[in-house]
Amino acid sequence: MAELHIIGQIIGASGFPQNSLFCKWGVHTGGAWRLLSGLKEGQTQVDNPQTGDMAYWSHPIDLHYATKGLQGWPKIYLQVWHQDSFGRCQLYGYGYCHVPSSPGHHRISCVTWRPLGSWQEQLAQMFVGGGPQLRNPDLIYSGADRYRLHTETMGTVELELGIIMRHFDKYGVES
């Protein structure tokens, strides 16, 4: 009967080859967790900065979870996409990070990677865009199947999260 509040924002992203980015995000938890209020997934707007490298979204995250156990601590998954001037959307990166488990204000830089195809596919990607995507992103939460992937490094997504924990100390949890 402990409760967790996650209140924060997805600030923006930087370090990607092109700007005009948007982000699909979500929070994944174990079975013992229950979402009391808030949206646990969403999509930001497309931001195309005029100057500088960082695309800013300032997308709010406001979640209230209740849990019966510590297993399945929430994780945030992000997919950064690029929308070009023709309106096509291209995947620019997957990123995963855990929600912090200590109360307070946290600034997290979640790094991203994207799957890499064969050299023919890479050549085509340079001209036409596109590229391989994960068929089922859920498999990647646990990390067990990751070794099969060949990926390339992409940019970073900045997150700012405030964590409020309630009743955890009553059950002997130190965080």
Binding site: T67, C97, G143, K170, Y171
Partner: protein
């Protein structure tokens, strides 16, 4: 209290009555409604208002009125023109009046307004509390000549917004000097105006009832939330510390070759155990690096979770628990399937709960001579550690001094981890309740700990000793005082 521009609150001016009686003059649906109601009143020979009548936002009156009124209210000098903002705010009321009545339940279908009109710009760039206004007017014409539009005069204005704020201008002046209104007509008459707040005060019982209702509502909401959440929470058994680590392998940077992957496994020392399905090792994906500044970084973003249990059985073993270790090695795999070890490192799990960002530096063993370097460059493959735990303290090590003399290594890059650590034990819950000071993890792990009992006895003794000292310190002063008092008394 909300004011609705309905007929029940609307009193018509004689001029309005004549205007709306004529059906041809009705343009908006509100006009037509007025017309219908006036006809009803005429039919029923109802009482016509004589002197007092009202205007609200929706009537035609406010159009020509607002700007002039605004700056007359605020500034004494009549020559000043209203400020830019005042102009904008005034014309907002304009817009409301001219708009056809729309069904407000239709939600906005377009998010972006590509061609904002001036009206739109004015209303959205400026903050305005949508307020409803009622102007109370008086017909101050000479008796017998009622119903002339020139004789109408503004007596008071009532504004309200949806959240229960009511603004009355001019203020109530019951008991003070009445306001004076001077008419400009054939005769200059002086009228005296008194405004009185005649609304009923809420009785204390009603107020109490309202409070009780609010409290009830909040309680019920709280109970609902509690019922959603439940009362139970999973706890480890008595005397066992549960150690939870959620972390990510964030990145690896400054390694020699490209296409890196990390192979890691965790090791539990004595007294530690873990669940059978807990995976103790992992492999990340193979990641191609990119250059960030002067370094080549590879972003892994590989989350892992780890749960282990610590149980201290014997007291005469070392009192500092040994924490688990994560050993990892970084390898690179080429396009031509050349495989090289890039570095070895280890990470000691943090003892303190919280968020930790750790950067571990790595090294790799080298063999002296050019042959191995050439082999590494052309074919791939290099010397590897047989026992990965050699990075820290080899598992086979017994003795006092670890010597690595003669072992050649080369510094390679670093790997960054982000760890979130949590610890849970029943003893922590009890300690939190009793508010004991925290000393060592071992002490708090259970009731069978002798040392814990000894420590608590010592603490109790110290507290008692302190209290005794304080009592003793305060005592002589009292005794002295009373002794001093006694002496003069006895002499007297």
């Amino acid at each position: 209290m909300t004011l609705h521009p309905t007929s029940s609150f609307c009193l018509w001016f004689q001029y309005e009555v004549e205007l709306f009686q004529n059906e041809a003059a009705c343009q908006t649906p509100l006009d037509r409604q007025y017309h219908a109601e006036i006809r009803a009143i005429n039919k029923a020979k109802g009482r016509r208002n004589q002197r007092i009548f009202t205007y609200t936002d929706h009537d035609r009156y406010t159009n020509c009125f607002s700007l002039h009124q605004l700056h007359n209210d605020l500034v004494s000098a009549t020559k000043s023109s209203p400020t830019f903002l005042a102009e904008r705010m005034a014309s907002v009321r304009n817009r409301r009046q001219e708009r056809r009545t729309m069904d407000s339940s239709i939600t906005k279908s377009r998010i972006i307004n590509w061609d904002p009109t001036d009206e739109f710009v004015k209303s959205s760039h400026v903050v305005n509390n949508a307020m409803q206004t009622m102007h109370i007017m008086g017909d101050l014409g000479p008796p017998g000549k009622l119903g002339q539009k020139e004789n109408e005069c503004l007596l008071a204005t009532i504004k309200t917004d949806g959240s229960g704020t009511i603004i009355v201008k001019p203020n109530f002046n019951k008991g003070r000097e009445p306001y004076r209104i001077v008419t400009n007509g054939e005769k200059r008459e002086v009228w005296r105006l008194t405004l009185e707040n005649a609304s009923r005060v809420m009785k204390p019982e009603e107020r109490e009832r309202e409070q009780i209702m609010y409290k009830d509502l909040y309680n019920r909401h709280k109970e609902y939330l509690n019922s959603l959440v439940g009362q139970d929470f999973e706890m480890p058994p008595v005397g066992i510390l549960r150690y939870l680590l959620h972390g990510e392998i964030v990145s690896a940077n400054n390694f020699e070759y490209d296409n890196l992957y990390i192979n890691f496994f965790m090791e539990l020392p004595n007294n530690w155990s873990s669940l059978p399905f807990q995976s103790m090792s992992g492999v990340t994906q193979t990641c191609r690096t990119k250059s960030l500044g002067k370094e080549n970084v590879a972003f892994f973003s590989y989350p892992f979770s780890f749960e282990a249990f610590y149980m201290s059985e014997k007291e005469n073993e070392e009192l500092i628990p040994q924490w688990p270790v994560l050993y990892f090695k970084v390898l690179s795999l080429d396009f031509w399937q050349r495989y090289r070890t890039e570095g070895y490192g280890y990470l000691l799990f943090p003892a303190k709960p919280g968020k930790h960002t750790v950067t571990c530096h790595t090294w790799r063993p080298v063999q002296t001579g050019t042959v191995s370097a050439l082999r590494r460059f052309f074919i791939g493959g290099s010397a590897e550690l047989e026992d990965n735990s050699y990075v820290r303290v080899p598992g086979t090590f017994k003795g006092e001094r670890l010597s690595r003399f003669g072992f050649c290594t080369e510094t390679t890059g670093s790997v960054t981890f982000r760890l979130h650590c949590m610890q849970q034990a029943r003893a922590f819950a009890d300690a939190a309740l009793l508010k004991k000071r925290r000393q060592k993890v071992v002490d708090h792990l259970g009731g069978f700990s002798q040392q814990g009992m000894v420590c608590s006895i010592l603490e109790a003794y110290q507290r008692a000793h302190k209290r005794l000292q304080e009592a003793r310190e305060s005592l002589p002063r009292d005794v002295l005082n009373s002794a001093a008092q006694l002496q003069p008394e006895s002499s007297a």
